[in-house]
């Protein structure tokens, strides 16, 4: 499944995308430790796969949680660098 978590700030509408099929293949789930805001949490999804999702308590705060990593002069993003199967994407 492609799970899109969206948010909107003054500069536009953005999405963090998790490809859960690719995520399920990853044993390390290094994104969990890599995100300085602790956005990603491990779960067993409704189809029995071990994947990560965005912490339900933080879904409505993405514009604030991702703000520090968003400036383009600071690539690569820690979460995307840590995601070895290439399951994570950002639309910005």
């Amino acid at each position: 499944m492609i799970a899109n978590y969206g948010y909107m700030d003054g500069s536009g509408e953005y999405y963090i995308t998790i490809d859960t099929d690719k995520c399920a293949e990853c044993e390390g789930k290094m994104c969990i430790a890599a995100c300085p805001k602790g956005l990603f949490v491990p779960i067993e999804d409704d189809y029995g796969e071990d994947v990560v999702e965005i912490d339900s308590g933080k879904v409505k705060e993405l514009k604030y949680q991702c703000m520090d990593c968003k400036p383009t002069e600071k690539p690569p993003l820690p979460c995307i660098s840590a995601c070895t199967p290439g399951a994570l994407k950002h639309s910005w």
Binding site: M1, I2, A3, N4, Y5, G6, Y7, M8, E13, Y15, D45, D46, Y47, V59, K60, E61, L62, K63
Partner: protein, 259 residues
């Protein structure tokens, strides 16, 4: 097998009881500050409607924003999976379901067996949901049904720029102060919500057949604005849009056992 699906939404609690794939009982109740008690009451109403004993229910699955509240649940299922399964059951030609509830909206794509392949959620925001329409209707002093229908009689295009329901409400207050006709204000409100929801829906790349469910599916002003925004004519609205996710949860409760 008899199963129950409980959708604990931000406004209403919906329960569907299934015997096999047949709905034998259902109930809806507005939630309260004691959600567990409200869930119990709604479940008992559905049991009464089904004319069965509570003990006859073999499996219970919960979904919705308050899905973790009910401790007796055998399964806790996300809104996306339950909504996708439910809308696919209503019409197995549906490939894109849009759940527009009281407090948030979701776009869900399902495959030919009803499994979710794509989903999109936005940060919780009242400006893209049913509660926004309710508060705007209240601001104009007219009931929800009349407010929704008023939009259909207007051709005006009044942009609402606010990203937030609180600021959007102040725009509506300004429109009232400028003596803008109620039908034009209603259209502006519905256009604004449709625009926000459409933007999210485009993220999952629409695939027909498209369905809307959740409370706003009852709102003709929203459905009309949504169709225009996405430039689509055919939108499937199930008979009881509020019960779709509860139906999906009840079905998944059975399927998990079978699996």
């Amino acid at each position: 097998m008899i199963s129950a699906g409980i959708d604990v939404g931000s406004k209403n609690i919906k329960v569907v009881i299934l015997d096999g794939d047949k709905i034998i009982g259902k109930a809806i109740q507005t939630g309260s500050d004691d959600q567990e008690k409200s869930i119990e009451e709604t479940l008992n109403s559905a049991v009464k409607d089904a004319k069965i004993e509570r003990s006859a229910i073999e499996k219970i699955a919960t979904t919705g924003i308050g899905r973790k509240v009910f401790k007796e649940a055998d399964y806790v299922i996300t809104d996306v999976t339950a909504g996708g399964r439910g809308i696919f059951e209503c019409d197995n030609a549906v490939r894109t379901g849009i759940d527009v509830g009281a407090e948030e909206s979701k776009a869900i794509k399902v495959n030919q067996v009803g499994k979710v392949t794509d989903s999109a959620v936005n940060e919780k925001c009242a400006a893209g949901s049913g509660s926004f329409v309710e508060s705007m209707a209240r601001a104009l002093g007219i009931d929800m049904k009349a407010f929704a229908e008023l939009a259909l009689s207007s051709d005006a295009k009044i942009p609402m720029n606010a990203q937030c329901a609180v600021f959007a409400e102040s725009e509506v207050v300004s429109l009232i102060a400028q003596n803008t006709p109620q039908k034009d204000i209603s259209k502006a409100v519905h256009d604004s919500i449709a625009s926000r929801v459409s933007s999210m829906v485009r993220r999952v790349k629409l695939e027909p057949r498209i369905a809307i469910f959740g409370g706003l599916a009852y709102n003709p002003g929203f459905v009309s604005a949504f169709k225009k925004n996405l430039e689509i004519e055919d939108i499937f609205i199930p008979e009881e849009p509020l019960f779709v996710s509860a139906l999906g949860a009840a079905l998944l409760a059975q399927e998990k056992k079978e699996g």
